[in-house]
Amino acid sequence: MKAIAVVGASLAGLRAAEALRRDGFDGQLHLIGDEPHRPYDRPPLSKQVLAGEWDSDRTWLISPEQLDDLGVHAHFGVRATGLDVAGTTVTLASGDALAVDGVVIATGARCRTLGDPLPGVFTLRGLDDALALRAALERSPQRVVVIGAGFIGAEVAATARELGIEVTMVEMAAAPFERSLGADMGAVLAEIHRDHGVDLRLGVGWAGFVGNDAVEGVALTNGTTIAADVVVVGVGVTPNTEWLASSGLDVTNGVLCDETSLAAPNVVAAGDVARWPNAHFGDVMRVEHWDNATTQGVHAAKRLLHGDSAGAYAPTPWFWSDQYDRKLQLAGRTTGADSFQIVDGDIESRRFAAIYGRAGQIVAVLGMNRPRHVMRYRGLIDSQTSFSDALVAEF
């Protein structure tokens, strides 16, 4: 290959570009990102950056010198507008058309929104979002209403409480993180938020915003209204695939790939935007976690350079979330779990590890302030250990 375009300049795209160079690709390498910034790290945005503990300079994933050393043609602040798969050509909003031999699709996802935009209503995905929300929190709002108790919602709620701001968190499901942890473990998280003073409203949804020139409150599906001068909407993301509409690729809920991360000949995808059959779990998945962006970015680069010999991409997904002084980690998938056991510590102390089983196999491990156990049991998930063997494993 003489030229490759990496479309998307966040974690997956950057790791793919680095892996291409590491694996000996010395041709033309384009790195295209719609944000004006060079690649930066997102996890601190809802925590250290939002809390004002970190300057945004601490989030850069790469220095300008390292970017030079990588030898990329950086197209930052430029949106990709189309992909011609047969001719492997990427068109850009600037009007340029990049004729290349390989393409890495890593355009990620964007926040879903609710209703019409109103001053005081925020989403949090990018660096500019974080700085805008931080400025709003610094103006000492009376109350922040967080809609959605997933990663963004729960972390923003924790950060705002630690800043001494009153927080109401609204969640349609019966517990925070219910989809990834299940209802019982989600309830543990609910208790933690309530202990830290969050007014948590479960089983109720957003019905509308109150206010004309700026948000003044949130109307809920149960007929109540909560006064708020800052609202953070954390109700999930939509994969950025519109630019691929005429490419012929299947972009239903992300770019559909084969088990090796290949979407079409000489076109691979990685990170939040990619959907692929994970042979290990027998499931077609799209994973929105940091670790997957890194590992799939690297894998996709190998697939592009080395073909089938790169093998299937079948990782055990893993995420972490820091809320207050608790570190939550989940490895694997709890979907369809039929057994569950606390294997270390106890729920009362909020320091424990628990494993989930499905059809006799260990499929997930959850840790709260138990990173060592999570990684040990993750190894058992990787090696497809039986649930009964995992129960008696000693770590």
Partner: protein, 72 residues
């Protein structure tokens, strides 16, 4: 070329990813702190240590060539 591994403990949050990739070098103990088992691992562990550095969620691990270290 031999190499040295350096952990920034101010950044490290003991996510233990490194321990899963290179248990010969990294160990998170029962106190939830990360311990380096060696600062100068064998060269055959370099790929694993570099993967650990890449996949550290806090970017707290650096891999230095011995030369770089002397320069620094």
């Amino acid at each position: 070329m031999s190499f040295k591994v350096v952990v920034d403990y101010d950044l490290c949050e003991s996510n233990a990813i490194c321990m899963q990739i290179a248990p010969e070098v990294f160990e998170v103990r029962d106190d939830d702190f990360l311990y380096l088992l060696t600062e100068t691992p064998d060269d055959n562990l370099r790929a694993k240590v570099e993967e650990s550095a890449q996949r550290c969620p806090k970017q707290a691990i650096k891999v230095l060539d011995e030369e770089e270290e002397e320069e620094a």
